[in-house]
C-alpha cells in the first residue's frame, strides 16, 4: 500500500508510456556481429551446458590425428552428435567453422563422419571467410573423396550469403575454375563461379574451348551468358534464348536447418523481428494477391526518376533506405522524403519522428487509406476466411498501437475501424490489442461515435468475465488520461489551442470528458453488483476515479464529477482495507480540488465561465458526512442524508441483534480495519486475550491512528488530517466534519 501511495504523489500529469517509446539507440540495423551477440545473450542458462559440450567437441576434433572408427570410438560418436544437434537446432558460432571444415576436408576420418559434419555446418550468424579459404586449400590438395568435395561445393553455394566477406574468395577464382573439367563437380563449380564472377573475371575467359568438349549443358550456358553480359566483345557465340532453370538446387540438405535457425534467432531478438516485418514477406499463403498483411518496406519514392531527369532532383534527396540512425535523421532532415508507401513508417521509429516534425496532411491521408483498407481486409472477425491469421492481425494491431503511443495520437482510420468492427467483436479475439487501440480514440470523434463504441462495449462488458471488465476499465482510464494529457499539452501552447481545437472547444472537451466519466460510473455500478463488489474490480474502478478526482488541479480542467453512490458505498463498506484507503485518498483529493476551485471562484480569477455546479459540492458533502459518520463519529445511520445512503431507523437496527451497532463501521470495528485493531490490541495490551475493542479510545485512539498510519494507510491519514477537525486533544472522539 505504501508503495502505491508514494507513487501517487510523484505521478506527473504527462505520463509517457515508457515501455512503448522505442529506444532509439537500440534501433539500428543489426550488423551481423551484433545479431550473434543478441542471440547468445538471449540464450538461457541451460544453454551454457550445450555451449560447453560444443567446446569440448571442437577440442576433440582439433586433436584428432589418425583415422578413428566411428563404431569403436564412443567419444567420436558423442561429439559428432553434439555438433549435429547444435548445428541443426540453433546454428554454430563463427569460431568453430575453421576446425570443423578442416576435419571434414582433410580426409582424416571416414566419409560418413565427414558427410555428417558438413551437413550440420549451419551458421548461427556468419561464416568467417578465413575458414572457407583454408577449406578450399584442403579441397585443392584432394585429401578427401570426390563425394565430400561435391558436398562441400554444394555447402559453399548454399552458405554463400552467410560468408562475412568475399574478397579473398574472389582471389581463388582460378582455383575454382580448374575444377570445371571435373565432370561430376562441373555443375556446382559453374554455379559457384556464377555467384563469384565479377566484371574483371571476364578477361581470363578460357571458357571458349570448353564449349565443345563439354557441350552446352544448362549450367555452363548460364556461366557463359554471364560472361557475355560482362564481355560481349569476347563472346561471339549465340546462346539459346529459352529460359530455364540453370542450376540444380544445392540447398536441400541444409534448407530446413537454416530456416529453423533463422526462425529461432528472430524469435529471440525483438528488434530484428520488428525489422523483418518491414522487409520480408510472411510465409506464402494461398490468398488473393493483394490480400496479404504486409507492411511495406520503406523504399525511396521511385517517382523522382520519372520524367524529370533534367532537374536531376534525385541527388538532392537522402534515400530513406539509408536512414539508420537518429543523427542521420537530424543531419538530413531538410532533404528527406517519405517512402513510396507510407505504411512503412509504422515499423520505422526514425520515420515516425520525421512524421512528427512534418505537418503535411497528405502524409496522414496516405496512411489513412492504406491502414483503413488493410484493417478492413484483414480483420479476423469481420472476414470469415481470415480467422486462421489471427496472430498476424494481432501483431499488426500491436504495431499500430505502438506507433500511436510513439506519436501520442490515434490514427483516424483506426477509430473508424473500431466503430465499424466493434459491434461484431466477440470480445476475445485480439482482446488486449483492441482495448489498447481504443485508448487512443481522440475526444473529438468520441462524442460522435459514442453509440458505436460504448453500446457494444457495454454489452460485452456486462456479459464477460471479471478479467475482461477490469481490462475495459483499465483501457477507459488510459483513454481519459490521454485526453487529459492532450488538453494539458494544448494549454501549454495556448496560442496553438485556438488553431488545433477548431472543432473541440473547451466546453466540448468538458462535455466529452463528462460523458466518458458518467459512462464509466454507470458500468462500474452495474459491474460491482454483478460481481458482488469484488475487491479486484473495485481496485480498477477506484484507479479510474483517482484521475477523475484530480482533474481540476492536475490537468487544469474545470470539471469534477463525484463517483456514483453505487461505487462510493461499496468502497466505503468494503471488506478490504486497500479499497477503503484508496477511497480515503480519492475523497481527500476531491476536497483539495474543490477547495481550490472555490478559492479561485472567490478571487474571481480565470475560468469564471466554468463554475462547478452546486450539485457537485452538495454530493461531496453528502459523501463526506457519510464517511465521517461511518469511520469517525459513529452516527452514519442517523446522519447520512444521501438518497442511496445507509440511513437506517434505530428500530430496524435493533432488530439485527447487533450490539453497539452505532460504531460498527468506525475505524476500529469496520470489517476492513478490524484486523488492524486486533493486531494493535495484541501489541498494546498483550496480557488481555479478549480483544476488547472498546479499549481503543482516548490516548489509545491516537496511538491506534499512528499505528494505522505506520501500516501504510496513507490515504486514511490524508483524509483524517484534512477532513476531520479534531476540536481539541481532550475530546478527540467528538469530531466535526468540515464542509466545503
Amino acid at each position: 500500500m505504501q508503495r502505491r501511495q508514494s507513487s501517487k504523489h510523484s505521478k506527473q500529469p504527462l505520463r509517457v508510456h515508457d515501455s512503448n517509446q522505442t529506444d532509439l539507440s537500440a534501433w539500428r540495423k543489426e550488423g551481423s556481429i551484433n545479431t550473434e551477440k543478441t542471440v547468445q545473450n538471449q540464450q538461457s542458462l541451460s544453454d551454457d551446458s550445450k555451449h560447453n559440450s560444443l567446446e569440448q567437441a571442437v577440442r576433440f576434433f582439433e586433436k584428432v590425428q589418425d583415422r578413428v572408427s566411428l563404431k569403436k570410438s564412443e567419444g567420436l560418436q558423442k561429439h559428432l552428435s553434439t555438433v549435429e544437434s547444435i548445428g541443426l537446432e540453433r546454428g554454430l558460432p563463427p569460431e568453430v567453422f575453421d576446425t570443423l571444415l578442416t576435419v571434414a576436408l582433410s580426409g582424416k576420418l571416414a566419409d560418413t563422419v565427414n558427410t555428417r559434419l558438413l551437413k550440420s555446418l549451419v551458421p548461427a550468424s556468419v561464416i568467417p571467410e578465413s575458414s572457407v579459404v583454408s577449406s578450399v586449400s584442403w579441397l585443392c590438395v584432394s585429401k578427401c573423396t570426390s563425394n565430400v568435395q561435391l558436398l562441400f561445393l554444394r555447402w559453399l553455394i548454399t552458405m554463400f550469403d552467410f560468408i562475412d566477406c568475399k574478397e579473398q574468395l574472389h582471389a581463388l577464382y582460378g582455383f575454382f575454375f580448374s575444377f570445371i573439367h571435373d565432370e561430376k563437380l562441373c555443375p556446382y563449380v559453374c554455379h559457384l563461379l556464377y555467384l563469384l564472377t565479377k566484371k574483371e573475371n571476364g578477361k581470363s575467359i578460357q571458357l571458349y574451348e570448353l564449349k565443345k568438349p563439354l557441350g552446352m549443358q544448362p549450367h555452363l550456358q548460364a556461366l557463359l551468358s554471364l560472361y557475355k553480359v560482362f564481355r560481349p566483345e569476347l563472346m561471339s557465340i549465340t546462346l539459346p534464348g529459352k529460359m530455364k532453370t540453370y542450376f540444380k538446387n544445392s540447398e536441400a540438405p541444409w534448407k530446413a536447418a537454416i530456416n529453423a535457425v533463422r526462425r529461432r534467432n528472430q524469435a529471440n531478438s525483438p528488434i530484428s523481428q520488428a525489422l523483418c516485418l518491414g522487409t520480408t514477406q510472411p510465409p506464402s499463403r494461398k490468398r488473393k494477391w493483394n490480400a496479404q498483411l504486409i507492411i511495406p518496406a520503406s523504399s525511396a519514392n521511385t517517382q523522382n526518376l520519372v520524367g524529370n531527369s533534367e532537374k536531376n532532383s534525385a541527388n538532392d534527396f537522402f534515400p530513406v533506405e539509408q536512414l539508420q540512425a537518429f543523427t542521420q535523421l537530424v543531419e538530413n532532415i531538410h532533404c528527406l522524403e517519405f517512402p513510396s508507401q507510407m505504411g512503412s513508417v509504422l515499423t520505422n521509429p526514425l520515420l515516425l519522428h520525421y512524421m512528427n516534425c512534418i505537418k503535411d496532411e497528405s502524409i496522414y491521408l496516405r496512411l489513412y487509406y492504406w491502414m483503413g483498407q488493410t484493417l478492413q481486409e484483414e480483420c479476423t472477425w469481420c472476414v470469415v476466411e481470415n480467422s486462421q491469421y489471427e496472430q498476424e492481425f494481432k501483431d499488426f494491431l500491436e504495431i499500430i498501437y505502438k506507433a500511436e503511443c510513439f506519436l501520442q495520437e490515434g490514427f483516424s482510420s483506426c477509430e473508424e475501424f473500431l466503430c465499424r468492427s466493434l459491434p461484431l467483436w466477440d470480445g476475445s479475439c485480439c482482446r488486449s490489442q483492441i482495448l489498447r487501440l481504443m485508448s487512443w480514440i481522440p475526444l473529438s470523434s468520441f462524442s460522435e461515435m459514442k453509440s458505436h463504441i460504448c453500446d457494444p462495449l457495454a454489452q460485452l462488458f456486462f456479459t464477460s468475465s471479471l478479467y475482461f471488465k477490469c481490462s475495459v476499465l483499465e483501457c477507459l482510464k488510459e483513454l481519459l488520461q490521454n485526453w487529459l494529457n492532450w488538453h494539458v499539452v494544448r494549454l501549454d501552447s495556448e496560442s496553438d489551442y485556438q488553431f488545433c481545437s477548431q472543432n473541440t472547444t473547451l466546453s466540448g472537451l468538458v462535455d466529452g470528458i463528462a460523458e466518458l466519466i458518467h459512462f464509466v460510473g454507470w458500468i462500474s455500478t452495474v459491474a460491482l453488483r454483478l460481481e458482488n463488489n469484488c475487491t479486484f474490480l473495485l481496485y480498477f474502478i477506484l484507479d479510474f476515479y483517482e484521475i477523475v478526482c484530480d482533474m481540476y488541479l492536475k490537468y487544469n480542467l474545470p470539471l469534477l464529477i463525484m463517483p456514483p453512490a453505487g461505487v462510493f458505498y461499496p468502497a466505503l463498506l468494503s471488506m478490504d482495507s486497500v479499497s477503503l484507503n484508496q477511497l480515503c485518498y480519492i475523497m481527500y483529493r476531491y476536497r483539495t480540488n474543490l477547495v481550490a476551485a472555490k478559492e479561485n471562484e472567490l478571487t474571481k480569477k480565470k475560468k469564471q465561465q466554468f463554475k462547478f455546479s452546486s450539485q457537485t459540492y452538495q454530493e461531496y458533502n453528502q459523501y463526506i458526512i457519510a464517511m465521517v459518520g461511518c469511520l469517525w463519529t459513529s452516527n452514519v445511520f442517523q446522519k447520512d442524508n444521501h438518497p442511496q445512503g445507509v440511513r437506517l431507523d434505530d428500530e430496524l437496527l435493533k432488530k439485527t441483534g447487533v450490539q453497539e451497532f452505532k460504531n460498527s463501521f468506525n475505524i476500529v470495528y469496520h470489517p476492513a480495519m478490524m484486523g488492524y485493531a486486533a493486531h494493535f490490541l495484541q501489541q498494546a495490551c498483550p496480557d488481555d486475550p479478549t480483544f476488547n475493542f472498546s479499549l481503543i479510545k482516548g490516548k489509545k485512539w491516537n496511538w491506534y491512528l499512528d499505528y494505522l498510519y505506520a501500516q501504510g494507510l496513507e490515504g486514511l491519514k490524508l483524509f483524517v488530517e484534512s477532513s476531520i477537525n479534531r476540536v481539541s486533544q481532550a475530546s478527540q472522539n467528538k469530531a466535526r466534519n468540515v464542509e466545503v
Binding site: 553480359v229 493483394n290 511495406p296 521511385t302 520524367g307 487509406y369 481486409e377
Partner: protein
C-alpha cells in the same frame, strides 16, 4: 452521356474483375508513357526473379498505358487510364505481331463524393477493372500500390446491390431486342451446390418494373423490393420454391451481367456510363 462506342468497344463482352482503389498519390496523366516503361521494367524484373541473366533475348511483354478521356461522368472526374499488356509473338518473323494478354483500367464516373475530400496531390480513380490472368493483375497492382501508395481491394457485390442492378437495368431502354433477363440463385447449406436459374423475357420484366416504379428518375428501395417480390411469388406459384430464402448470385440483362464475386460483363456501350456510375459508387463506399 454515352461514351463513343468505337473507343469503348474493347470493354464489351469481356469479363472484368472489379477492384476498389484508394486515391493515387502523385499520379500525373502527363507521365503515362514513363509509367508504361517503368511498369514494363518492373514486370520484366519480377518475371526474371530467381533466373539467370538472359542474354540476347527481348523481353516478351510490352506495356502500354494510355488515357481514355471518354470514360467519365463529368469534367470533375479524372479521365480513365488504360493499361494493356501484350505478348510479342515468339516466332519473331513479324515484329508487329502482338497479342493482347491482359488489360485493366482505372475509372471514375461521378466520383465527386470521394474527390471533394481529397487533397491536390491525389488522383481519384476508385474503380479498377481487370481482364486477364491474375498473375498479371498482381504484378500491375503491386506496381501501382508501390508507386502511387494506393490500395487495391476486391469489390464484391452484395445480393442487395444485385437486386438493384436487376431493377435498374430492366428499366433502361435498349435499342436492339436483347436476350432474356436471367437471375441465378444459389441454395445455401446443401451438401451439393445447387444453383437455380430464373429467366424472364425482357419485355415482361420491363412491364413489371414500369408497373412498380412510380416517379421516373427516382427509385426507392421499396420499389426494388416489390419488383423482386413479384418475381419471387411468380416463381413460387410455379415451382413452390421460395427464392427469397436463397442467395442471389448473378444478374444478367441485355445491359450487363454481374456476379456477386465482383465480376462484371458489359454488353451494351449505350448504358456503359450509367453502369460504371453505380460501380464507382460501390467502390467509393468500400474505400470510405
Amino acid at each position: 452521356e454515352n461514351a463513343d462506342p468505337q473507343k469503348t468497344a474493347f470493354i464489351l463482352r469481356k469479363q472484368w474483375t472489379l477492384y476498389s482503389v484508394t486515391p493515387l498519390y502523385k499520379f500525373s496523366s502527363a507521365h503515362l508513357k514513363d509509367y508504361g516503361r517503368q511498369l514494363g521494367a518492373f514486370i520484366a524484373a519480377e518475371k526474371q526473379k530467381g533466373l539467370a541473366v538472359e542474354v540476347g533475348v527481348e523481353l516478351g511483354i510490352k506495356v502500354a498505358v494510355s488515357s481514355l478521356p471518354d470514360l467519365r461522368g463529368s469534367d470533375q472526374d479524372h479521365a480513365a487510364v488504360l493499361v494493356q499488356l501484350s505478348l510479342k509473338s515468339s516466332a519473331s518473323r513479324k515484329k508487329t505481331e502482338e497479342k493482347l494478354v491482359w488489360s485493366g483500367w482505372f475509372c471514375s464516373v461521378a466520383g465527386d463524393d470521394l474527390s471533394v475530400n481529397v487533397l491536390e496531390d491525389f488522383t481519384c480513380l476508385p474503380l479498377f477493372l481487370a481482364n486477364g490472368a491474375e498473375s498479371y493483375t498482381s504484378l500491375v497492382g503491386t506496381w501501382f500500390q508501390k508507386t502511387f501508395d494506393c490500395c487495391f481491394r476486391r469489390l464484391v457485390i452484395s445480393p442487395l446491390i444485385l437486386t438493384w442492378m436487376a431493377a435498374l437495368w430492366t428499366g433502361y431502354k435498349v435499342d436492339k431486342t436483347s436476350s432474356a433477363m436471367e437471375l441465378v440463385f444459389s441454395v445455401p447449406c446443401l451438401p451439393q451446390p445447387l444453383d437455380i436459374s430464373y429467366a424472364i423475357h425482357t419485355e415482361d420484366a420491363k412491364a413489371l418494373w414500369d408497373a412498380v416504379q412510380k416517379t421516373p428518375g427516382e427509385i426507392t428501395q421499396e420499389e426494388v423490393d416489390v419488383f423482386m417480390d413479384c418475381l419471387y411469388s411468380h416463381f413460387h406459384r410455379h415451382f413452390k420454391i421460395h427464392l427469397s430464402a436463397t442467395k442471389l448470385v448473378k444478374v444478367s440483362t441485355g445491359i450487363a451481367s454481374a456476379h456477386c464475386d465482383g465480376i462484371i460483363k458489359f454488353l451494351q456501350s449505350q448504358h456503359l456510363i450509367r453502369v460504371l456510375m453505380l460501380l464507382t459508387e460501390l467502390a467509393i463506399s468500400q474505400i470510405q
